[in-house]
């Protein structure tokens, strides 16, 4: 049977690994190289690296980190942030990424989704969505450029548009829950799951193992992305896996 995945997310900014709250107030959380070592020894199911530097010159250093990580760890690696075209995708795959997340660049260029899928396979193309609740209209909206620009797209309408394209997974990131450690956005995730048939990775909100358990018990989605829960405190993927397995959730067997 297919197992549920727990995917640590590493946010990289100007050479440092960071974590913020609601896409703001980033705190330094150590060196990305040592995080890769740790997650590799803990046999994380996958790793996601997101480049959130505003500094465009940082892209080269980001690529060096990915290159080094891919030599060290054999686990599937997904890379995102500042990937604008097929050339960027090709380069990331060449240096060891298995899958690519594209978020902001898709909003004004839906055809990029199919182009990546055609050239590198749909399994390689992960569509990212950053969304936030808008109080005045009582709706969720899609945001781009790291929660700097609100788009015209209401979340569920946006999902209906992108689902006409060919891609492998959906990376659903709740800005409002980012770094808050108060649990996943179950209702929204459920609603999107019912309208789309690709695997969904939920991101934003994991603060303890109960939150991950709730996500997997209350929704049918495939994967929980986690960040703060592993950065702040002594939790790790091995403990998470053991906890969830004891609660009857199918998790990966290493042996």
């Amino acid at each position: 049977m297919l197992k549920k995945r727990i995917i640590p997310v590493l946010l990289l900014r100007d050479g440092k690994m960071v974590k913020g709250k609601k896409f703001r107030n980033y705190r330094d959380t150590g060196s990305p190289e040592s995080a890769v070592d740790v997650y590799s020894s803990q046999e994380a199911d996958e790793l996601v690296f997101l480049n959130i530097s505003q500094n465009k010159n940082y892209f080269i250093e980001f690529k060096n980190i990915i290159k080094k990580a891919s030599k060290k760890c054999l686990m599937p690696m997904t890379v995102g942030g500042n990937i604008k075209n097929l050339e960027d995708v090709r380069e990331m795959l060449m240096i060891g990424a298995d899958k690519i997340i594209i978020t902001s660049e898709i909003v004004d260029n839906f055809s990029l989704i199919n182009e990546v899928a055609y050239n590198f396979g749909s399994q390689c193309m992960i569509v990212g969505i950053d969304y936030s609740y808008d109080k005045s209209s009582n709706k969720y909206f899609v945001w781009k450029n790291l929660f700097q620009n609100k788009t015209k797209y209401e979340l569920f309408e946006y999902v209906d548009i992108i689902k006409k394209h060919s891609f492998g997974e959906l990376f659903l990131n709740s800005v409002d829950r980012d770094g808050m450690m108060g649990g996943y956005d179950i209702d929204v995730i459920k609603k999107i799951k019912s309208s789309i048939n690709v695997p969904i990775i939920a991101c934003g909100g994991a603060g303890n193992f109960q939150h991950i358990e709730d996500l997997f018990k209350k929704t049918q989605i495939s994967a929980a992305a986690c960040s703060s829960i592993f950065h702040f405190g002594d939790n790790n993927p091995i403990r998470a896996r053991t906890h969830l397995r004891n609660k009857g959730i199918l998790m990966r067997n290493l042996k």
């Binding site: 049977m1 297919l2 197992k3 549920k4 995945r5 046999e43 199911d45 891919s70 030599k71 054999l74 686990m75 599937p76 795959l93 060449m94 240096i95 060891g96 298995d98 899958k99 055609y118 050239n119 590198f120 396979g121 749909s122 399994q123 390689c124 492998g168 997974e169 048939n197 690709v198 695997p199 969904i200 049918q220 495939s222 994967a223 990966r252 067997n253 290493l254 042996k255």
Partner: protein, 205 residues
């Protein structure tokens, strides 16, 4: 010596990393005419069936792969590389494969609550007993899968393992027909047991 076939559409780097971890000697082969100097070949594949077959034919790989196989060299197709070993693929219409194993490649029809692609960690079932490929392999180990299509061999005796997914609740995850092997998941991404599988393939003589 192992030759990794590099026709421009495979995760060559990951396979190199995995072979280095198990201390295997390998070369990345970019000229089809050099294939015959290797005892074991690995055919990777990422992308679409029709696109990869097109490149394999245009670059002249097909003839040399078939010549190697008919001379008894061992070949292992991984993920899309496994699918390319079959007669036909239905991705982007219908296209001819290498035809080294009889059968077709079809889109998986997901079962209730299942998504497509089939991505993540899954185990193998109905494993063929006493086959050398499974030496030292743990029975319950999970492997990393990422695919939307499944191989449907004409003869069931080539099936070495199956995996639970899709409307029929299983698909073929490992095949072997004479000196030809195919693995639907990514052994190179699935330590430790995936690496044992690679090692066992290399040791088949």
């Amino acid at each position: 010596m192992i030759g990794i076939i590099n026709y421009g559409h495979g995760n060559i780097g990951s396979i190199e990393n995995a072979l280095s971890k198990i201390n295997s000697k390998y070369s990345v082969v970019t000229n089809p005419e050099n294939l015959l100097s290797y005892s074991h070949l690995i055919l990777p594949g990422v992308g679409s069936f029709s696109k990869c077959m097109d490149v394999i034919q245009r670059q002249g790989w097909e003839k040399h792969i078939k010549a190697s196989v008919s001379q008894g060299k061992y070949i292992l197709g991984i993920c899309l590389g496994m699918q390319l070993l079959f007669d036909n693929g239905e991705e982007d219409g219908s296209s001819k494969g290498l035809g080294l194993i009889n059968g077709n490649v079809k889109k998986i029809i997901p079962g209730k609550d299942e998504a497509l692609p089939h991505v993540g960690w899954n185990n193998i079932i109905n494993v063929k007993e006493n086959h050398n490929l499974f030496d030292n392999i743990s029975k319950n180990a999970d492997y990393y899968f990422d695919h939307s299509y499944e191989c449907i061999p004409l003869k069931t005796n080539v099936i070495l393992s199956e995996t639970n997914y899709g409307i029929n609740n299983k698909f073929v995850s490992i095949v072997s027909d004479r000196n030809i092997y195919g693995i639907q998941f990514h052994p190179e991404k699935s330590p430790p047991n995936g690496l044992f599988l690679l090692k066992n393939f290399i040791n088949i003589k």
